[in-house]
Structures are given as C-alpha cells and as structure tokens.
C-alpha cells in the first residue's frame, strides 16, 4: 500500500505575543523573530500514517509532500526522521501566501507526477487545518482536484477487511467507516496520534533518505497564476485585536462595605451595558 501525507510549514503558533507581527502590505504575518515549525495537524497525519503502517505489519510505503519554501525541507526531514520513507518538496518562490485552492492545485499536480513515477497512492492524508490561517479548505479542494472521495476529521486509519477502517470525529460522537482506496482524509488530533519524537538514529538516517525537489515549472504550472491565487476569497484587512481592560478596586474599610460596593458597581456596569 502507498500513503501520501501532505505537510505545511508555518510560523510557530507558540510565538510570544510581542514577537508576532503583521505586514500590512502583504496582509500576512511577518516572520520576525518567530520560528518555523510543521503544522501540528500535519504531524498528527504523519503519526496516523505511521501507526497504520505498524498495524498493517509492513509493506506500506509512506511519502511526505510539501509545497513550501526551501526552509520547509526541515519539516520533511523531520517526517523522515519519524520514519516516513521518502519526501518531495515543491518549491515555492518568494514570500507569498497562496490560498487553499492554489495550494490544492499545486499538490494535485505534484501527486499526479509522483503517481506517474511510482504508482498510485491509496490514501492521501492532509491535516485538518493549519495553525496559521486556519482556513481548513486545502484537504477538500485537493480531493476535488484529484477527483477522490474525501472524509474529514479522521483520527485513525486501520487496515480493515480489504479496505481501510476509519474513525472520524463528528458532533455527535465517533463514526467508524470502511473506505475503499483511493481516497483522501483530513486528519484531526486525538490522544493517540500525538506525533512521536524520533529516535536519534532515525534523525541521522533521515539525511540519507531521498528528498525530491520539484519546481512549479517541473509541474507545468504557471507560477504567476499560482502566486495570484484562485481568488475564491480576498483578504480585506488583517490586524491584531486589542483587549482593553479597565480595573477598578472595590473600596471600603470592612469586608462588608467592600462587598456592598462591589455589588453596587456590578449593578451599575450591567445597567450601563443595558
């Protein structure tokens, strides 16, 4: 069996508030002092794929694919350190923020290319959403491009009778489904697919695993077109919300007086909000 996991490199969502900056010109976050990390749901997807391989008892090949800047090689190396077999990076030029549909097109083209060379992927795993924009559309749009059936919010894949057994989270509980490859799933997190810490030996081995690099030109895509995005939506404005806190101390000499004062003020404030 062959699985493909899509990865995205994002700005560290744990960046200290003060280090988080916005570039109003491009209407996006600025790198600033922030680090780059693999989007957490993508790492959950890698972990889910690895667990599927372990449950299937071998003969499952896992490929990681990323559309990103050259720095995203780190994410792919880390995935290979987690024991993904091979990786492919589609290089993005410049600091642009292609939207989900554009990314879906690039990934689909890359997947088709990889399938041409190495045979079809039975399942494509995509993180449920990314920690930077949180749009959550890439999986669906990619499935559309590939013409595959898709299921969202999947938390585990297990080998089933002939197909694959999926567990997915829904508003009313867990749904278990049987799926016939090929298909695409978006992966969410649960307590069982916490990404593993690679063993040091695997970290070292990851540098010997194949990492293929493709450009948009290799995929016969027009980079200008991708850069411009699909215009399914347009970012109007982007800003950091400010919270204003007004603090007032209830006064009084005794505890009772202070409680009375507090109750009075609460009434007044509630009344003023109306």
């Amino acid at each position: 069996m062959k699985l493909l996991v899509c990865l995205k490199q994002i700005l560290d969502p744990d960046v200290p508030a003060r280090d988080f900056q916005i570039d109003p010109a491009v209407k996006a976050a600025r790198r600033g002092g922030a680090n780059l990390v693999t989007n957490i749901f993508c790492e959950n997807a890698v972990e889910t794929a690895l667990q599927f391989r372990e449950a299937a008892g071998g003969d499952v090949k896992i490929t990681a694919l990323c559309y990103g800047e050259s720095s995203a090689e780190d994410c792919l190396r880390k995935a290979m350190a987690m024991t993904v077999d091979e990786a492919c990076l589609v290089e993005r030029d410049g600091n642009t923020n292609p939207d989900a549909a554009a990314v879906g097109r690039v990934l689909a083209a890359a997947i088709r290319r990889l399938e041409q060379d190495g045979g079809p992927f039975d399942a494509v795993l995509v993180g449920r959403e990314s920690g930077d924009w949180g749009v959550g559309q890439t999986g669906g749009l990619l499935a559309e491009e590939l013409g595959r059936p898709a299921l969202g919010f999947v938390e585990s894949l297990q080998p089933g009778n002939g197909g694959v057994t999926l567990r997915r989270q829904t508003d009313v509980g867990i749904e278990v489904a049987e799926a016939e490859p090929p298909f695409l799933v978006t992966i969410t997190n649960n307590e069982d697919n916490v990404p593993r810490i690679p063993k040091t030996r695997d970290v070292m081995m990851s540098y010997r695993k194949p990492l293929q690099k493709l450009s948009l030109a290799d995929l016969e895509l027009d980079s200008e077109e991708i850069r411009a995005g699909s215009s399914i939506f347009e970012v109007e404005e982007i800003f950091i919300p400010t919270d204003e806190v007004e603090c007032e101390l209830a006064e009084g000499d005794t505890l009772e007086e202070r409680v009375d004062q507090l109750a009075k003020r609460i009434h007044e404030v509630v009344a003023s909000i109306g």
């Binding site: 680090n35 690679p198 063993k199």
Partner: protein
C-alpha cells in the same frame, strides 16, 4: 630483665608448622584467582584514560584512600571504620614482622621494638578492631538505618573479623599465662585474657586450648583472605584502586561524549558498553548507602536509589560477566562489546535501573560527592537515559515538550510569552549583531533561556546588567542569536540535540570573537566551562556572582551604594546551586556578595556547600510534573524556611523558580522571599532611584 633482649618464640606451642605454608598456597591461589576474574571482567570494558596525571592521582589516593578523607565525613561510620581500618593495617604489619623475623635472617622482633610495637601497639589496635566491629554490629543489628543493605554476607564479615581478633587475643593470653611471659604487661589485652584464664584453667588445658584456637584462628583468617575477592571485603583493594583512577575533572565534566559518526549504539543498555572504569566502579561499592541517603529523589520517596543502581549492575556483571567476555580479548579496548547483543539489558523495570528511577535523577551529583570511594553514579544514569531517549525515544512527557521546544525554538520553555530581548526594555543594551565592532565588548553577557524567558527571572538578568553597567563593564548580549546551551537536553540524555545546540552556539560566538563570558545560569556556566571546549569553544567563563565579586574586590563596582534599608535588616540563607557548587566548586563568591548586602545576617541551611540539597530542577526535572507528595523543591524549601531566614538567596534561574514554588507552599504565614544574589546586591549598592524592578 633486659628489655633490649625482649622477644617471644614464634609458633611456641605449635607443631606441624609446615602446614601453615601448605595452607597458604591454596589461600593465595583462590585470592589471586578471584581478583584475576575481576580484572578480566573490567578489562572487557571500553577504554577510559585514568592513569594520566599521576601526581594528582597520588594526592587524591593519599587523601581519600590512605587518609580516608571521605569515609570520616560521616561521624559514626567514620569512627568505627577508622578503628577497623587502622587495626587491620597494624595487624597486617605485625604479621609481616613475624614473617620477616621467622623466615628471613633478619630477627627484628625483639627489644624495644618488640615491646612497643609488636606487643603494646598491636594489642591496642587489636582492641580497636573489636570495638570497631562492635560499633558496626550495633548499627547493623540494632539501630538499623535505612541506608544499609542487609545481607547475610555483611553480617558474616562482621562476625568473622570479630572472631579473628578475639581468637588472636585468646592465643596470646594463654601463651602469656603458660610461659609466664615476663613482658606480659606490654600486651595489656592479651594479659587480661591470661589473668582471667589463670584461675579457671590448668596449664595443660590452656596449652591444648592454645593449639586448637591457634589453628582455628589460622583457618578462619586464611578462609577470610580467600573469601575477600568474592565478597564486599574486596573493597579493601578495589576502593583504593577506584579512588586512584577517579575522575579528576569535577562532576561538571563527568559525562562522556559520543562520536555520532562511529557509535554503534547511543547510550548504554549493555554492560559491555561501559568503560572498564565503570565496571570497576560496580566492584568498588562498599554498600555504605551514603549516596542513596543524600539523593534528593530518594529522600522525597521516589524509586531512584543510586546505591541500588550500582549494586544491581554489579550483580548483573557477576551473573553474566563471563558471557560478555565471550568475544572479548580482555585488553580493555572494548572488544568485549561485540557480544553485547547477547547480553541482558541493564535497564529493567524489575530492578533499581528502571526507566522511572532513571528519569527521577536531578543530576545533582550529591551521590558522587558522598561516595567514600569516588564511584560515579550520575554519569551512568545519564548513559542509560541516553539509551532510552536516543534509541528508544522513551521518556516522560514533560521532557518531551522540552525537547520539542529546544528543537524548534532553541529554548526549552514551550509557550513562554517572552522573547529573548524583552527583558532589556529601557536598558539600552548592546546586541552583538547590531554593534559596529562587537570586539569592543569586553565580555559577553550570556542571558540564558531561564533568565530571559521566565518572568520571575527577568529581574535577575536586569539587575546583573545594571550592576555590570554601574561598574563600567563594556558588555553585550547575543539577543535573538542566543540559543539554549543544550544543558537540559544533555542531562535528559539527548546528546545529539545537545551537540547540535552547542555547535551552533560555538559558531555564533566565534563569529563575534567572544573570549569572556559571564552568565547568571550555573547550567550554562557549566556547559561553557566543562563541555564546550570539546566542541572548540574555549572561553574565560564566570558565573555572575564570581564576576561581580571580582568587580567589588577590585573596586570597579562601588560597594557603597545607597544600601537599601529593606534588605539591611533581613536574615539571608543561601542555597548553593548544584552546578555552581558541587559541579564547579564555587561556594564563596555568592557568600562574599551577600556579606555586602547592607548588614544582612547570613545563616546556613544544614545541607549547604558541598552537601547542598538540590532544588529539584536539574537534569530536566524542572520540566516534569512531580507527584504532589514527592516534590524535591518543597523538601528543600522547608529546610530554607526552617532556618528562620526571610530571604532565600539563589544563584540560578531554575533554583529560583523551583524554590519560589516550594517556599510559597511551605512558608505558612511568614513572609519569605526567594531572590537572586544579583537582585539583592543591586538593592544594596545600586542607585536608589533604580531599584529592581
């Protein structure tokens, strides 16, 4: 009676004396074979350089082996061990004198030497042995402290030594009584036996008794000698050897480095991967239990016991020693390791070397400092952790978050709300990357993650920076280019991550030509001082208390600032950080500074300086949630609170946060503050309008 002619007849009443020599042959053969087995096992270990620097080794040997420097630190055990130890030496010398006198033409056992040494001194030291063994027996059989290991072997050793000394006095006494020895008074203890036996026994009975007990004494003594290499009595030889080959570089430099290019395994899970010195360590243990007694993790009730780790590994080595020799040629170059894969793992849930115990160690080195025979427990714990972390990726969750953060953010504090430069706000501090000529900076102020990214500690680094500025020191920081030194990764066992971080930092510092570093984090201090030289980073390194102390001494820092009265009236107790004190031997600098803090009184905790008790934060433990009833920091905080001090002074960002938590849990209604030495100093000598914060 002419005392110059005083002597006694060797063997006197004993016939068939040739039998002594016949019995000696198998005795010495078994003794030699026993030690040969041991040496062969040790030599199957990996190489270690421990016969260099002979002068220093000899000094250490004289101080702590011959002089028993560490053994006598414990009062009760020190007393009885000294009695038995000196007794053994004197009795051994006396036996040698008899042998020389009898078996060579040198008849030395006569005259004043015979009376003073061979009779009086030998008798007194024989009594020492009896008293010493009795004291040991009282401890082992009556007071029964936890630190001992209660084995039959240990009891039999006491009984045997006691019997040997007692029967020695019996045969001496009967000889004196029957021969009417004119020099009896010179052998006071033997004489007591003589006087006591005289009215009770006939001469003939004493003569028969003498023969029987004499042979009995001989057989017991020879049996004991043959047993030595197979019992913990072997420490008589292994301990001095272990002390001679001890690590001379301080605990801060005691971890091994790994060559990742060539290493077949990372970390250790098989005996054959230990060095010969590690294997010798296992055999040198005297089972005294002092290491476990001082271990902070053990004290709060965790399963970690350094003594049991050493003893369990010793047991494992003895059980399968020959197996790991299979492919080895015993030349100490590690070829024994070829057979490692067939060996049992050393990490075993059912023994003291369980993952749970290994990950409770704070790497405080209290065990190593307490060990009378210089066994290196902590590096072995880290060796095993390395195996778990790097080969198995198996470790506690808190440590996982820490390592993840180190990997992606180069600092261990996932979720911190601060950047590395936030603390400099309003201080206008030079950042090397922004300076026209970074060489202008006399010293690099290494802030450390714990200083820059933890709210509580930002005052410490601010105070340090302000003091440096007040003293006119030209300093700069690396700012965002600073990465964790890698200490937490290294202690947890992720040597690979440590190496990556270390190499990165060395490169950055090289770029700016850094030669002198001052830091308020003892962990960073230790890494720079003892670990970075291995990666090509050699600097003149100071802990901030050392640097500030020098500035005050030299007068560069004016100590007559606006002494703040609020600290002037307080009582301060200083908590020695493990990585400043025990690991690097600095105990005075922080105390000197505190003495300058406007008239404050200093009190010491019971466990201080080299016996200081860890705050609980070392070894990556600061990132692990301890069970509420097993918190090392609270144990330590209680001790600090009990001194009655209202300020607990610290010199480490990890100690600060750990003790802050601990003190808040234990101080009751009393106002007790945890403050870094630099904060206190700034309050005392800083400009009054700019106190910290």
């Amino acid at each position: 009676m002419d005392p110059t002619q005083a002597t006694r007849e060797v063997f006197w009443n004993i016939e068939y004396t040739w039998l002594v020599y016949v019995l000696m042959v198998p005795t010495l053969a078994i003794f030699g074979w026993g030690f040969w087995l041991k040496i062969r096992r040790w030599r199957a270990g990996q190489p270690a350089v421990r016969f260099d620097r002979l002068g220093e080794r000899l000094q250490l040997f004289l101080r702590n082996a011959v002089g028993q420097g560490r053994t006598i630190r414990s009062r009760y055990a020190g007393v009885f061990h000294t009695l038995v130890y000196t007794g053994f030496i004197v009795l051994f010398l006396a036996t040698t004198v008899v042998a020389i006198h009898h078996d060579t033409p040198l008849h030395i056992m006569k005259g004043h030497f015979y009376l003073v040494f061979q009779s009086l001194i030998v008798d007194v030291f024989g009594l020492f042995v009896l008293v010493g063994v009795a004291l040991a027996a009282i401890r082992r059989w009556i007071s029964k402290p936890n630190l001992l290991v209660y084995t039959d072997e240990a009891s039999w050793i006491l009984v045997t030594i006691f019997v040997m000394a007692l029967t020695g006095f019996m045969v001496e006494g009967w000889r004196i009584a029957v021969t009417d020895d004119p020099w009896a008074a010179w052998s006071p203890i033997g004489n007591v036996f003589a006087l006591a036996s005289d009215p009770l026994m006939s001469d003939a009975a004493m003569q028969t008794g003498h023969v029987v007990i004499w042979w009995f004494h001989l057989v017991v003594a020879f049996g004991f000698i043959a047993w030595v290499p197979f019992s913990k009595m072997s420490h008589v030889f292994t301990a001095p050897l272990n002390i001679f080959t001890a690590n001379l570089d301080g605990y801060g430099g005691s971890l091994k480095t790994i060559d990742f290019e060539t290493a077949e395994r990372f970390g250790i899970n098989h005996l054959g991967d230990f060095t010969w010195k590690d294997l010798l360590d296992f055999d040198a243990c005297t089972e005294c239990g002092r290491c476990t007694d001082v271990c902070p993790a053990n004290t709060v009730g965790k399963s970690l016991s350094p003594r049991d780790i050493i003893l369990d590994l010793q047991g494992l080595m003895h059980r399968q020693g020959d197996q790991f020799l299979l492919n080895g040629n015993g030349n100490g170059n590690g070829s024994g390791a070829n057979a490692s894969d067939e060996l049992l793992p050393i990490i075993d849930q059912k023994t003291a070397v369980s993952p749970e115990a290994l990950f409770a160690c704070t790497t405080c080195a209290a065990c190593m400092e307490a060990c009378p025979v210089h066994i290196e427990q902590m590096p072995k714990i880290v060796d095993a952790r390395r195996y778990l972390v790097m080969e198995e990726a198996d470790f506690p969750e808190g440590m996982m978050d820490m390592m993840n953060s180190l990997e992606s953010r180069q600092h261990p504090f996932a979720g911190t709300q601060f950047s590395r430069v936030d603390w400099t706000e309003g201080l206008d501090i030079d950042v090397m990357a922004e300076m026209d000529d970074p060489h202008e900076a006399e010293v690099l102020m290494w802030v450390g993650c714990g200083g820059a990214l933890v709210e509580r500690n930002r005052n410490t680094v601010r105070a340090t920076a302000k003091l440096l500025r007040k003293a006119g020191v030209k300093f700069a920081i690396l700012g965002r280019e600073e990465s964790c030194t890698g200490d937490p990764a290294r202690r947890v066992g992720n040597e690979f991550l440590f190496e990556m971080l270390a190499k990165g930092n060395v490169e950055t510092m090289q770029r700016y030509g850094v030669r002198k570093v001052v830091t308020s984090c003892p962990h960073c201090f230790n890494s720079f001082r003892n670990e970075y030289p291995h990666f090509g980073g050699s600097y003149e390194v100071y802990h901030h208390t050392q640097f500030l102390d020098q500035l005050l001494e030299s007068g560069r820092l004016d100590g007559h600032g606006a002494a703040d009265s609020s600290s002037g009236s307080s009582t301060i107790t200083f908590h020695d950080p493990c990585y400043l004190g025990r690991h690097n031997g600095e105990y005075e600098a922080p105390r000197n500074l505190l003495a300058k803090v406007g008239g404050a009184r200093q009190v010491e905790m019971e466990r201080s300086r080299n016996t200081s008790f860890c705050c609980g934060g070392g070894g990556g433990m600061a990132f692990v949630d301890e069970p509420p009833d097993q918190r090392v920091n609270q144990e330590r905080a209680q001790e600090a609170v009990d001194t009655g001090a209202d300020v607990v002074a610290v010199g480490c960002p990890f100690c600060a946060t750990m003790l802050d938590d601990g003190v808040n849990a234990r101080r009751g209604d009393r106002e007790v503050k945890v403050r870094d030495v630099a904060e206190l100093l700034w309050d005392a000598v800083g400009d009054s309008d700019q106190t910290v914060p």
